[in-house]
């Protein structure tokens, strides 16, 4: 075999690809729904924290800021390993999937809290006063007047962060979750061929290039209209 044929055989081997395809497709599904789980819980918790912070209770806000700082500085892979290798020893058994979901949701909640909070803080004080003077309660003002404006400011930074964290589902491969990368790595060791890895890379591109393009569009759109 020439070196060209050898490369073709180890990276684009059709018979390996045929065998591995069902596994990779199943893994794609796992990656997508793990990502969706994380996005829903992460953004919901982040929003709740930002709203809580808007009430200006000092002792509570101290812990919210500490929470956000901690989860924005600790790398996702460290957090996933900490939960996966630590919790069983403390008497809590937890699956790799649950670890990845929990760790990445905690991180996304921290970043989205910061984004929503930046939006709330940037909203003109007059908006608060106007809302309160029409007889709305503090919470009603926050929900119906401040939040819609804050969300508009938050959406651009939130989009790129959310995409980044969805890609972070690949870290789950380290704790034995058979998502795209994990599945490809185990197939690599079975077939002793690099084709599954190439398929994994292609699968990520198919899933995430449209998401990145949509993200770019959203970022640009909300960058201008929000100002």
């Amino acid at each position: 075999m020439s070196s060209w044929e050898l490369a073709l055989d180890s990276f684009f081997n059709l018979s390996v690809a045929r065998d591995v395809l069902p596994t990779i497709l199943k893994a794609c599904w796992l990656t997508v729904y793990l990502s969706l789980f994380i996005i829903v819980t992460g953004i919901a918790c982040g929003l709740a924290l930002a709203l809580l912070r808007a009430f200006g209770i000092r002792s509570v806000n101290f812990f919210i800021v500490l929470y956000a700082d901690f989860f924005r500085t600790v790398p996702p892979l460290v957090l996933i390993c900490l939960l996966y290798f630590g919790l069983p020893g403390a008497g809590l058994s937890i699956s790799g999937f649950a670890c990845a979901w929990l760790a990445l949701s905690l991180i996304l909640a921290a970043y989205s809290e910061e984004s929503f909070w930046a939006g709330i803080a940037a909203t003109n004080r007059g908006q608060w006063e106007a809302g309160r003077s029409t007889g709305l309660t503090k919470f009603q003002t926050l929900l119906h007047i401040i939040l819609p404006q804050a969300a508009k400011v938050a959406i651009a930074p939130l989009t790129s962060r959310t995409i980044a964290i969805a890609k972070g589902t690949s870290y789950a491969s380290v704790v034995a979750v058979p998502e795209i990368l994990g599945a490809a790595q185990s197939e690599l060791s079975v077939t002793y061929n690099a084709t599954p890895l190439v398929m994994a890379a292609v699968a990520y591109c198919i899933i995430f290039i449209p998401v990145v393009a949509a993200g770019r569009y959203i970022e640009q759109r909300f960058q201008w209209s929000a100002r």
């Binding site: 990276f11 995409i163 990145v212």
Partner: protein, 231 residues
Amino acid sequence: MSFASQFLNLEILAGAWPILLLGAKSTLLFSLVGIPLAVVTGLVLALLSFSRSRTLFALQRVWVDLFRALPPLVLVVLLYSGLPFAGVELTPFAAVTLTFILNLGAYFCEVFRAGLSSVPRGQSEAARSTGMTGPQTLVYVLLPQATRNVLPELISNVIEGVKLSTIGAVVAMPELLFQARQAQNLTFNATPIFAAAMIYFIALLPFVRLLSTLENSVSSGRGGKPLSAGH
């Protein structure tokens, strides 16, 4: 076993400390190599995006979109476990460095591109009319303004870069997470990983605080472009 003895066991911490320090040093050294390389790559790519050549422009666009879509962990595994099939054996250090250049470089490119587009055209025209050459205009007039405009995004990317170096653990590069995992394997206790998390937290906290301050002053000031990266 209780939480305290599993996550905050001082005896185990004392034993693991020298290894953790070694790992922290290695993470710091790697960050000092990998991040500047990514910054330079991003800057060059950003300049290509203003190029009149269609080929160079297309190259830049494909690079950025491809490596923003591909998770860095996939990239490093592909380089480290995939390339040997083509007869190319990379050291862990080389594989992680290359991943930084490809992935983090793409994110820095987006930031510099936003920064350079935010500088008014007249600045470059004025600089050229005073007799400055193209490169002089770039270095003395455009880049300082561009950098100032996207400073929060640049800092954010540096923080993400330090955190990204943990992918080295997967390819046996002896950085902080790898060393913590080794210690955890030997002791069957998660204290070393918790200590590693605290080291990242303490080391990066000043940067995150600085970022929050900058972002708040930016959102009340000139209207920032939230274009920061993450991986």
